[in-house]
Symmetry: C2
Subunit: 325 residues, 2 copies
């Protein structure tokens, strides 16, 4: 199968809906036409077999996840998805892999009105590079630098379950089947919080998505905002969905807390908002259908302090994942 | 070296100049702010070691070429470069490789006022994914679909020399040292025709950049325009710079013509313009300092006809390179 036939067969769609896309796949460049007053938010991710996913990964879920991690970056900026490009290195033009991969990728793209506008395919070790574009009103993007002492600290959805699933795959923990099924869904089909990100424009003072782990990603916000944070570990532990399962015991609390604080692969939003905007945060959560948990606060003193429900210090071995450390 | 230190050390630059870039590296997304009335041209390429370059490739030249092939796509649309993202998979955070790679990449970026606004680095087999953004006045992008019967057919610069250098590396041909040095420069440091592309807005009826070979890439234009073309092979052969070298003989004419017509890796523009716009084409060539050669014409009959100076048919084995064929 030739390169052009491959693109035609699996990735070309009927003409893009038109919102923001003037020209899609098929020329030297795609042409995007943002609305007047809009800025274009851009992010890119590169996923490699063996590093970010296993060769046995289900291709449909992989297609979903490859786009989800990029949509999550748009969400963290409060941007509305517009379009994306796909650079794909493949060992072979294998229809059994390409058809479900494209299905998973394009189903999520369609759900967010995000058009595939260009790409590049080549033969090589499996690698998936996506660059995504969203639009956000000028000056309204959620940045990492806006957290202020006194702000509340929030996390969307759940944390730690993706890492729990990974540890089951690694054989370091055993959990009841229903717990594993749910955790695996979190690992393989993360839900980018796109609607919440947009609802938080004008409410949140800063935001980032949790890809490398809560502490590490929050650390970027704190450094760029020149602040520190206090996290209630009791509230944080409540973010682990598996812990709320009635179906059986889970391993000791120390590892669970590490997975919540530094597990990675969560693709939730961690964000800050002034304490007097709690009603607005709750309204954004409701409007976007996304659970949001208040887990702590921003403080002037640099660093992250973990405290229990009584405000006493808690020690954790949790640390962020850094691809070259 | 951590991922973030790596980005900081080699790729982060003083704050972007501001033209079209509202926020550069360092947040979940970069923010682009196109001028009112401008569309955003987007293109992406993925280069893999062993497929697109050898492990022995000079990293500074590789940095240049990785961006050049993307700038060439903007050129083919008549777009002005604005910004790019870089997804980089590296076997190791090797300073001896990264420093010259970043130098070659950023020198060309600076020359075109094209800011690095985001990226992703990960450990893995060497792969370079670039997505590039340019701006073009709405409705003025040069497309593949605009060629009309009667149009003149032009090529910028030279063709076939990159392939000649590749064949020297492969050991299938031997040429005098100065010829090889010049041809290697064409292979390893292609010149994207960015100024010419912009100068051709409102003049050319269609354009594409020659990456896979003249016949193959022209074929895309002809299919999308519903036309055919006639090429004067005498004019085409004149595009091989090595042929104009006084330093010695070159292999038989049949292979030379194949390299000109289907060698690939040229990164020149092939474009069409109405026959009554010859003065405007010449003015665009002069204004952009880019040589342009009239090599044939567009015809209503589909297909590509190769003719000699007397209009008699010429047969060539030249065919385009297709990554999955």
């Amino acid at each position: 199968m030739g390169e052009f036939e491959l693109i035609d067969r699996f990735f070309r769609r009927p003409a893009a809906a038109g919102r923001g896309v003037a020209l899609g796949i098929g020329d030297d460049c795609a042409l995007l036409a943002p609305q007047p007053g809009m800025q274009l938010a851009v992010s890119c991710d590169l996923l490699l077999e063996g590093r970010h996913f296993l060769s046995t990964a289900d291709p449909e879920r992989l297609g979903h996840k490859a786009l989800a991690v990029n949509l999550s970056d748009l969400a963290a900026c409060g941007a509305r998805p517009l379009a994306f490009t796909l650079a794909l290195a493949l060992p072979a033009a294998d229809e059994q892999w390409l058809a479900p991969f494209a299905r998973g990728l394009l189903a999520l793209a369609d759900a967010h009105g995000c058009a595939l506008v260009g790409g590049d395919t080549t033969r090589g070790p499996l690698a998936i590079g996506i660059t995504i574009f969203g639009e956000v009103p000028a000056g309204q993007a959620l940045l990492r630098s806006g957290a202020r002492a006194g702000d509340d600290l929030y996390v969307s959805g759940t944390l730690g379950d993706a890492r729990l699933a990974l540890e089951v795959f690694r054989g370091t923990v055993d959990v009841p089947a229903p717990v594993f099924v749910a955790a695996r869904e979190r690992l393989e089909r993360p839900i980018p919080r796109v609607a919440l990100g947009q609802a938080l424009r004008g409410v949140a003072t800063s935001a980032i998505d949790v890809s490398d782990g809560l502490l590490g990603d929050l650390g970027h916000v704190l450094r760029q905002s020149g602040t520190g944070a206090r996290i209630d570990t009791g509230q944080a532990l409540g973010l682990l969905a598996a812990r709320r399962s009635p179906s059986g015991p889970l391993p000791g609390d120390e590892r669970l807390l590490d997975w919540v604080l530094a597990g990675g692969d969560d693709y939730e939003l961690v964000f800050t908002a002034p304490a007097d905007r709690r009603a607005a945060v709750a309204a954004a959560a409701t409007a976007s259908g996304t659970p949001v948990t208040h887990i702590g606060c921003i403080e002037a003193e640099p660093g992250i302090r973990l405290v229990d429900g009584n405000g006493h210090p808690v020690v954790s071995q949790g640390r962020s994942f850094d691809h070259f450390s």
